[in-house]
């Protein structure tokens, strides 16, 4: 019984040696923080370099993207509280893509406005130019890794519990 538990843990540890399994909450937080910084930078740039029309259009797109992003955060909080639920991941990934696409539009508008204001090759901060795809991919793969870990742990715990209960049955007289 104990040997089997040790073997299960060893297998989990070995499996976690692969790059995909090394991801967890720190990577989710890191990527979300990067996305937040990008959002703040793009909004600031658009507001400082954009015309009234560009700012108004950007604001609408941003509001929509932020609402979706807030939904992602709320979804992640539920995921933490309930330790994962089937079907959660696809919705979460979809919302992450939607909010990222909106933010990308705002950043593109900010970049265009800044370049137009300072000439075609004007200086634009790296954070605004940085592609959002890899950031979103990091969130998705990290959440997926966390979800898989939970599933593995649940399987191990259930097997252990079943065995414990079987072993707890009293012997025949």
């Amino acid at each position: 019984m104990r040997k089997r538990l040790t073997a299960s843990i060893a297998l989990t540890v070995l499996a976690s040696g692969s790059p995909a399994c090394a991801l967890g909450w720190p990577e989710v937080m890191q990527a979300l923080a990067k996305e937040k910084s990008k959002a703040a930078a793009c909004v600031a740039l658009l507001k400082s370099a954009g015309g009234k029309k560009a700012i108004a259009e950007g604001q609408l797109v941003y509001l929509d993207a932020k609402a979706t992003s807030d939904g992602v955060v709320a979804g992640l909080k539920t995921l933490v509280a309930e330790r994962g639920k089937p079907g959660d991941l696809s919705k979460l990934a979809e919302s992450l893509d939607t909010s990222a696409a909106g933010l990308q539009k705002v950043c593109d508008a900010a970049r265009s406005a800044a370049e137009a204001a300072a000439g075609a090759k004007g200086p634009v901060a790296d954070i605004v130019k940085e592609a959002i795809g890899p950031i979103v991919d990091l969130v998705k793969s990290s959440v997926s890794a966390i979800y898989s870990d939970w599933k593995d742990m649940q399987k191990i715990e259930q097997t252990e519990l079943r065995e414990e209960l079987q072993n707890a049955v009293w012997p025949d007289f």
Partner: protein, 67 residues
């Protein structure tokens, strides 16, 4: 002790039962206390972990567009 030995020597069934009952009860009580302490610590750790993650997620929200 004298009373116990006298009863034990006379093969009184009640003494053996009392001894066995006492031993089992103390073991069960110790196990219950240990399991309770372990479970309490596990729940506390999980609550702490969840609280930290929730706090970090709240901080990850995008800023408002402003006016």
């Amino acid at each position: 002790l004298a009373g116990f030995l006298t009863r034990a020597a006379s093969g009184t069934k009640g003494v053996v039962e009392d001894l066995a009952k006492g031993a089992v009860e103390s073991v069960v009580e110790a196990l219950e206390a240990a399991a309770g302490a372990l479970w309490g610590r596990h729940v506390k750790m999980e609550d702490l972990e969840i609280g930290t993650i929730r706090g970090q997620l709240n901080a990850a929200k995008w800023p408002d567009f402003g006016t």
